[in-house]
Subunit: 811 residues, 2 copies
């Protein structure tokens, strides 16, 4: 059909790069770029390369070395300012493959696919969603139980020592015990994450969001990450860190879902061979949406909140029937957690424990229209405080990236934070000796279910009284939160609250971003509930006629603080409503969360988006960057690109794969009349397909018939792992063989013309969830390629009310 | 630049049709089509046409006459079986334009668009959403108040007569009064809709869904429709029809939103010139999503439910920032309704009336794990009953389309239903003389807020007792519903319920689909609550240990019946939870709604989808039809198409527009070497653009410079109305002038190759919300065009567990 390739030199393989590599050249119009390129030319010589003729390779290496250099000398070098932490993309993040490659094999398979298969797949999808719900519930309950028992043990011992040593004047014993235990456990927590699976750090929500946006993040969905996440969060909470166990549930849920969809695990070397039809990025993505929602549902007992979370924060691609399946998974998850926890707590049929965290029953309190302005004020405070949280944490994250990049340093920092999380509270308990005299029979509110709170500490207080600070600190953050929401007005007085709030705020800032599995929901809620309660105390003083209920203000404050940090509105409203089991405050909560978001967004992005930016993940937002209409596909594309011929020499394929970092290659036929183009587009083939074809030796001597001994299963069986080209050995004889790419390539890749504006390119790319978009001339000749990073690097964000277009570096 | 057109005959203007017209030819592979075409040839001669040379015109006319013929002779003719009501698409429905046409004018405008403009637009969007919320609330409150006062008047008079005439033996007076009043009012209701704006019929939800899917429905968003809808629903409810006022709120909300976005109304001839940037289908669509959500929020006091409704039932295109705006509109709407209603009811700051309908406070009831199987059983019943409702209503709708197509017949039928809605209840009140003796001081539950229920009728009962049937019927359906949910166990006994349920079921089936503005929510809930209560009575007999609370079973039954009819899951759960103000039943409600949906879907589609199918609206579902991989773009496209040259003669433009029914025309340049193609694609121009250009006389003598005196505003000013080509007069001299289409055409229309499979075509079309998709050769020469109807006509639906691919007729 088409002329097979004859010689390597015939093909234009020229600078740069698709999907993996920073683009060069053609950027002259964008002034900001130029300095970077000038800097690059200085050390172009000392790059070592085994194929110095490839300009691409040279350039690629220059970039790589350049990056290394910055990292090496970052503390001292003058190059340092070049790392603009929020203004770069890391090139290692690839896109996922959502596009269905309708090649010959696929068509063959679809022809065989009948009625029954479709029905079986339909049922399998629901079944997997059921299993996801159940699996997530099991993980959640296991984590919750471990924390419950360990916390009971830890805090009851500490409480006893505190009370006894106050009398015997041996306070150094409990404080050393406390700090020591925290130090050891939090070091373990950090080591687990740092050395086993770094992708398990933090709450995982920013990474899940990126994953659902179409970014491939190595290790994120591995069983190893699940273990590091689940066990890690138990250790983090027990290590006394200011964190909750809810955020990590979302990541855990996503991993469970991805694992069930793939039906295999790399670590166990086990292939269950259940539903191999789901082994592609598109299907796994849908299950992961369900898993994340089920995670929220399990954590907060909020099935609708889970779906909305998945929608508002997570999903970038959505579909009605997916909504129903996601909803089903969330429902099963909440229901199972409810049944399991109710059984464990001894009343199996009452279904009284829908989620891991419960805010407890609120008595019948209402709000009045006159209180709405006060709530609005609180929303503004929440927005400001949340923005401050994000700002401080951003500075800290950058500091960590620059100075604490070494693994042992990360672990050490966590140990320090763990110890400080014992020492600082101790200082407060010791110095702020405020006492609370509970009415007889009242042992403090909330957390009655074994969080070790049944017996708060007396410390230096009189017999029958409790030290208020110890009521906050000698508990898990969750039971402190419940206490803060439900306590009597006298329990936490203004003095205690105004000392506690700033301290805990700083502790929470310090904790978030440590290399441990931890969530920011509960500490944020706790901070918010505390200042909400403080405001409530003030209101009760100033407007006694309002009969201010402190629990109400604590709840609104909690919502404001969390909303200001994570900038969720609708899903957070529903989560909080489902979590309190009370819809009364739904409406004011919505109003304040909306205002909180506006106030917060005026200053910076949400905590999660900040994380995504600092990590340099090429997340594609919903809308194209504003004011980018003057940019054309021409300006943003990578050009020229490496191309293959429909029947290609093995030697050239291997060579190109080894020297180029592209993930996709247009397949073209040479055009006699066109000089500057790479030939007329015939299809697109992925690196992952080529390596599998090479591994299976789907090639033959030129002229002889090419074997077609490969099936769709062979491709699916490699999912999600990729074969590394370096691992494939090709003999010199084989290098002269040829491979027919036509049955395997995607025959109809998406294309655009070079004059198309960036917003239009963006809408196509984002709307269809693409990985490669080929730029062609109007006779369909390949001119270049647009990939995720080429679009993600243009970012327009409103900040302090101003819009600014930024062009990110790719490192 | 390019050669101007010389002669009409030079261009290939050939059979068929894009967007508006059934495709002909090229369909040989699809056997089902052939009979239709054979029939067509018979009466090809007697079509009258002013341009009989145009085969397209002939064909178009044949189709039109063919349709007419069927309608004329439908009762007797043998052609009759050709109308397959659920298996056809009506060709009058066009697509909306979501694609941004990046032509010269747009680029010019965008270059001028700065920072400030973007910020102003951002604020304007939020402001409009605020106004939408407020406007919807006002409409909702106005409707609710009118119904409240009128119902109080009507039923208090009727109740008095019933009680008095039972003593005086003059029962004919109240029954004649009742029937007469119903007859008159329901005839008015029907006349208002039928003669003023037929698009206001029914709940409007199927049409809103279609609108949001991208179908243009004439009159749907007009002020006239709002009046017919709002006033119509008052009349329908007062006319005694078995319908509620909630569904129409959604349509009303959508109209308010569309009107505010456009800032003008055709009827008032008023142009407020507020935000003319929003005068395009894309922006209006987003506001309509918000309006529909705000409608739900106002009707049920369910802001989150509104957003979810808009998502689950309505939206086909979604986006995170839209979620926030939609949520904002819903919130404002609920909040405003709350403030207005609370003020009207005399306690303005208590915020006690979040929605129009309230299910009242449920006492503190719980459910037990053991009750879950009973709920599941109820879900199955709900699914079956809902499927039966849809089936019966489908048969009735088809009957109506065939035999009751005339306007006066529609009005007469409504009058009959209105009268029957008085006579049948009267028969029941008269014959089923069951009495209830309320404990002293108890005047029946719920509806205490002026729905005329304070004084139920004694009829033939003893002094101090009430006739149970009259407690159901001498009220608005809404207050009957509240009664059914909250009544004492003795109030409605098994005899009354088992007679009431089938009768009301049939009445509701008969009512839905009448040419009045009416909602199906409340009647469905009432039916469900009734059989739920009946089941509860049974459970209480059989399992006395469960302490069955009848309100609980009534609530679950109501959810099941409504779920079985409309097949919503997540949004219905949230709406019901927000409406009851009680989250306890959230989880079991979700479970039963999921099962209800599965059971119902086994038999048929939802009521709304049935409506969409019968109306022949080309709705594009979320996923491509299954088992359609063997169809290629080639098979589904319209070919050949009418094309224009970049510089085109006016005569030919006018001629083509008059003879063809296309809405979009590729602009091509002739290729010397290609025989079968229509030339190389240069752009796409819409009929609506051409008519505006013609109206503004943007043309000149050949050779002279073409005037460019037209701006974006001129296009926007016509939105959403289209200029009819018949209204434009072109002198004979002008016909030889030429128009340069290049500055106005869309220079980069979306294209695909002819070998691309239908699922891929579908995904591009659906994912990007297109109107025209041009099929090109691999040298970019136009081969054909794919439009909405070409894709919507392939439908694969599971029915009774089997998948069947249908190919719909286009009529």
């Amino acid at each position: 059909m088409s002329a097979p390739a004859k010689d390597e030199t015939e093909f234009i393989v020229t600078p740069v790069s698709a999907d993996d590599q920073p683009a060069s050249g053609k950027r002259g119009t964008l002034e900001k770029e130029i300095p970077v390129f000038e800097e690059l030319n200085h050390d172009a010589e000392n790059t070592d390369s085994y194929n110095q003729n490839s300009i691409t390779y040279l350039l690629a290496n220059r970039f790589r070395d350049f990056g290394k250099k910055i990292r090496q000398y970052s503390i001292t070098s003058a190059d340092e300012p070049l790392i603009r932490y929020r203004k770069r993309l890391i090139s290692k993040y690839e896109s996922q493959n959502y596009d269905i490659c309708e090649n010959h094999l696929y068509v063959q398979e679809m022809e065989k696919q009948r009625q029954n298969k479709i029905r079986r797949l339909w049922m399998a999808r629901w079944l997997i969603m059921f299993l996801v719900g159940l699996g997530v519930a099991l993980v959640a309950v296991a984590v919750a139980m471990m924390i419950e028992y360990a916390a009971h043990l830890k805090f009851s011992i500490l409480q006893k020592y505190f009370t006894n040593c106050a009398k015997d004047n041996c306070m150094y014993i409990p404080v050393l015990m406390w700090a020591g235990v925290n130090l050891v456990i939090s070091v373990l927590a950090a080591a687990l994450v740092t050395y086993v699976e770094p992708a398990a750090a933090g709450s995982g929500i920013p990474l899940i969001k990126s994953y659902l946006n179409g970014v491939r993040i190595p290790g994120l969905m591995s069983l190893r990450a699940l273990i590091a996440k689940g066990l890690g969060v138990v250790l983090s909470v027990m290590g006394g860190l200011a964190c909750g166990k809810e955020g990590p549930m979302i990541h855990s849920g996503a991993i469970v879902a991805a694992g069930l969809a793939k039906g295999r695990s790399r670590i166990c070397k086990k292939d269950f061979n259940m539903f191999d039809s789901f082994r592609n990025d598109r299907e796994v993505r849908d299950f992961v949406s369900g898993g994340a929602a089920a995670g929220v549902a399990a954590a907060f007992g909020a099935p609708v909140g889970g779906v909305l979370f998945s929608l508002e924060e997570g999903a970038s691609f959505w579909n009605q029937s997916l909504t129903w399946r996601v909803f089903f998974a969330s429902m099963i998850s909440t229901f199972s957690v409810n049944v399991f926890l109710s059984s464990i707590h001894g009343h199996p049929t009452a279904l009284s424990s829908p989620g891991l965290v419960s805010f407890g029953q609120f008595p019948d309190i209402k709000y009045d229209l006159l209180e709405i302005p006060i709530f609005f004020l609180m929303a503004v405070i929440g927005g400001l405080s949340g923005a401050l949280f994000v700002f401080l944490n951003y500075k800290l994250t950058v500091f960590r990236q620059r100075f604490l990049a070494k693994k042992w340093l990360k672990v050490a920092e966590t140990g320090l934070v763990g110890a400080m999380s014992a020492v600082l509270p101790f200082v407060l308990i010791y110095s702020v000796n405020q006492c609370y005299h509970p009415p007889s029979g009242d042992h403090g509110h909330g957390g009655s279910e074994g969080h070790g709170t049944g017996n708060p500490s007396q410390v230096y207080c009189k017999e029958g009284e409790q030290n208020i600070m110890s009521m906050i600190f000698l508990r898990t953050p969750e039971s402190s939160l419940i206490g803060m929401l439900h306590a009597q007005p006298e329990e936490y007085n203004a003095i205690v609250l105004s000392i506690f709030i700033p301290l805990y705020f700083l502790l929470a800032v310090w904790t978030y971003g440590l290399s441990v599995s931890s969530g920011v929901f509960v500490p944020s809620l706790l901070i918010g509930a505390s200042w909400g309660r403080l405001i409530g105390l003030g209101i009760a003083k100033i407007f006694p006629f309002l009969e201010a209920n402190l629990g109400k203000y604590a709840l609104i404050g909690a919502a404001c603080q969390l909303g200001g940090t994570v900038r969720m509105t609708i899903s957070l409203t529903v989560i909080l409503v489902e979590c309190t089991g009370d819809i009364t405050f739904g409406l004011p909560m919505m109003l304040v969360l909306m205002i909180t978001k506006w106030v917060g967004d005026f200053f910076d992005t949400s905590l999660y988006d900040m994380n995504v930016h600092v990590a340099g993940i090429p997340l594609l937002p919903w809308d194209p960057p504003a004011m980018s209409d003057n940019l054309k596909a021409n300006d943003v594309m990578n050009a020229p690109v490496a191309v293959f011929r429909p029947v290609e020499r093995i030697g050239r394929i291997v060579n190109t794969l080894r020297t180029e970092t592209f993930c996709g290659f247009p397949v073209t036929e040479a055009q006699s009349d066109a000089v500057e183009s790479c030939g007329r587009l015939k299809g697109l083939i992925l690196r992952s397909q080529l390596t599998i074809l090479l591994k299976n030796k789907v090639y033959a001597k030129e002229g002889s018939s090419i074997p077609k001994n490969i099936k769709m299963e062979d491709f699916r069986n490699e999912y999600p792992w990729t074969v590394n080209i370096e691992d494939i050995t090709i003999s010199d004889e084989e290098k002269d063989f040829v491979m027919d790419l036509r049955p395997y390539m995607n025959p109809f890749p998406y294309t655009i013309f070079k004059e198309v504006s960036l917003p239009r390119v963006f809408r196509i790319f984002r709307g269809l969830g693409l990985r490669h978009l080929v730029v062609v001339s109007d006779t369909n000749e390949v001119l270049g390629m647009v990939t995720r990073k080429d679009l993600a690097r243009y970012r327009t964000e409103p900040k302090r009310g101003m819009l600014k277009m930024e062009i990110l570096d790719i490192q």
